[in-house]
């Protein structure tokens, strides 16, 4: 299996506070990789390096290398807008834009492609179908995206992310604000999507990690303690800390 993303000695700083320490991690292409660990251990921080979203904040800084397809995306020469097309992100809460369901996706498409009207409509439909949302919203494409339920909003955001043909999807606790039934739908969706995309999902929910992921990385206090195939991590962890965490002794 090919490696899609490779973190090499990745460290991260909030001002003078160091949050990540020499993270090394290989992420396989077209697999779901779960990132687990107790609150404040740096899971989200690690993920937020992958699309350089942390750069929006003045005092945040990463060092080391993050290779995507062998290219270090922390290189200032990298076109960050193109990077963010290739690396989509889903957040803890749904983030529909204040526009219609159709526009939410069409807007993202128009940022990156010049498309005739007809094709734009097709691509919007494709994206909504891929996010298994089309049947639920096809009659209300003109309604505000904010009018959908929480689970639908989150799938709308997934549709928006995949509309621009990314290669990687980052999901930062994508179901933490969503009810169990909607959560299940999103988990099923993730299993569908890994056919085409490399997915990295931060989750607090160990059952979720076990259900959806092929590989798991366990973070603790900014260090990657252990990573490997999910089945092995959960049944036969090598590190004592990992075992304590997955058996619920802390965190």
């Amino acid at each position: 299996m090919a490696t899609k993303i490779s973190a090499r000695n990745l460290s991260f700083f909030y001002g003078s506070h160091q949050a990540l320490f020499d993270n090394c991690l290989d992420i396989e292409e077209r697999r779901v990789t779960a990132v687990i660990g107790p609150s404040g251990c740096g899971k989200s921080t690690h993920l937020r390096i992958y699309n350089r979203i942390f750069e929006l904040y003045r005092d945040q800084r990463a060092s080391g290398e993050l290779l995507i397809d062998g290219v270090n995306i922390l290189d200032p020469q990298i076109d960050v807008l193109e990077l963010r097309r290739k690396v989509g992100m889903i957040f803890q809460k749904p983030t529909p834009f204040p526009m219609s369901v159709f526009e939410n996706i069409a807007y993202a498409l128009k940022l990156h492609f010049k498309l005739p009207r007809k094709e734009l409509q097709q691509r919007v439909e494709q994206a909504l179908r891929a996010a298994s949302l089309w049947d639920e919203v096809k009659d209300k494409l003109k309604n505000s995206g904010l009018a959908l339920s929480g689970g639908q909003q989150q799938r709308l955001c997934i549709a928006r992310a995949i509309a621009v043909e990314p290669e990687i999807l980052l999901m930062d606790e994508p179901t933490s604000a969503i009810d169990p039934v909607a959560t299940l739908k999103i988990e099923e969706l993730m299993l569908d999507l890994k056919e085409k995309y490399t997915i990295v999902v931060v989750t607090h929910n160990m059952q979720q990690a076990a259900r959806v992921s092929d590989n798991t990385a366990f973070f603790f206090k900014g260090h990657i303690i252990e990573d490997g195939p999910t089945a092995r991590i959960f049944t036969n962890p090598k590190q004592k800390k990992t075992e304590e965490y997955i058996t619920g002794r802390f965190g």
């Binding site: 003045r58 807008l81 989509g88 957040f91 983030t95 204040p98 807007y107 505000s144 904010l146 621009v164």
Partner: protein, 311 residues
């Protein structure tokens, strides 16, 4: 000692104070209507559309003042809104020290008395307009030769007039609009902004398509506050508008506004002219009032629509 009796006095006192605002508003309307009755009898609604203001012939029309008011206000907003938006965007993301100093500087613009703006306009801005800005617009940009819009730019200038007044007004309303836009931008959920950047938006795209749309109600509120202030501003405009009771031909023309007409003419007015000035006052009050009502109605309508779509 507080007794039931004194407490009820306090209650009535509060009630009277609260009612006073409404009573004053009503009082303004009644007084302006009564004092302007002669004008309405003489000219009817034609007063609003007549171009002549001729005290010798005893004929009075409000159109030049109304047009002047609207033109200066529109120019002020056209200049102030983009400036305020750009400044607000910068200030929200700027390093704290710079943001602090510049925010206070912009806020302090609101504390400058309008007569100071007027003096500055008369002695500084108008000469600069005449020596540099207007020649640049006419001789270099040749704006007056533009199709359609060209005739509203004009070819002849002297530093005073609608454009200069609009500029002064723009500076005066800038702090109000900027303060509100700053709040609007700060109220956008960080995650929504990150989502926009995350999909590949630039700063500008995030600002205009996501932040602005998300906070559209606040933005409009800020604009209406600026609008209300620009409509009624008197002193600063008086210094630079040129005070001509004629219909303006273009944005370089000398003109007048309702507020400037009132301030200029009351001293020597009597009879029908005095009544016509009161009528102008009533028009200004109604215009401001209509804008407030329209703003409230619009905000109410958008919030109702959002509420509906959520259920």
């Amino acid at each position: 000692m507080i007794t039931v009796r004194t407490d009820s006095i306090f209650y009535w006192l509060c009630l009277i104070c609260a009612a006073l605002a409404g009573l004053l508003m009503l009082g303004f309307f009644v007084q302006l209507s009564l004092s302007s009755a002669a004008t309405w009898r003489e000219f009817g609604l034609g007063f609003l559309f007549s171009r002549d203001w001729d005290p010798v012939a005893n004929h009075f029309g409000a159109l030049p003042s109304i047009v002047g008011t609207l033109c200066t206000t529109v120019i002020a907003l056209l200049i102030a809104i983009p400036l305020a938006f750009a400044a607000a965007l910068f200030l929200v993301d700027a390093p704290p020290l710079i943001a602090g100093v510049l925010s206070h500087a912009i806020d302090l613009l609101a504390a400058i008395p309008s007569v100071i703006y007027g003096m500055w306009g008369l002695f500084v801005l108008a000469p600069i307009m005449q020596a540099h800005v207007q020649p640049f617009m006419v001789d270099v940009l040749r704006l007056h030769q533009l199709p359609l819009l060209g005739r509203y730019v004009g070819e002849y200038y002297n530093g005073f007039g609608i454009l200069t007044a609009g500029l002064i007004l723009a500076i005066m309303v800038l702090p109000y609009i900027c303060a509100i836009l700053r709040d609007v931008i700060r109220m956008t959920p960080p995650m929504l902004r990150e989502a926009a950047y995350g999909i590949g938006c630039t700063r500008w795209e995030t600002a205009k398509d996501i932040v602005l749309r998300y906070g559209i109600r606040g933005v409009l509120g800020g604009i209406f506050i600026g609008l209300g202030r620009a409509l009624g501003e008197t002193m600063a405009v008086l210094f630079v508008i040129g005070n001509l009771m004629d219909m303006p031909e273009d944005i370089f023309s000398g003109a007048t506004t309702i507020a400037a007409t009132l301030a200029n003419n009351f001293a020597e007015a009597d009879g029908l002219q005095r009544s016509a000035l009161f009528a102008l006052g009533l028009v200004l009050l109604l215009m401001s009032f209509a804008i407030q009502v329209a703003a409230q109605y619009y905000l109410h309508a958008t919030s109702a629509r959002r509420g509906e779509s959520r259920s």
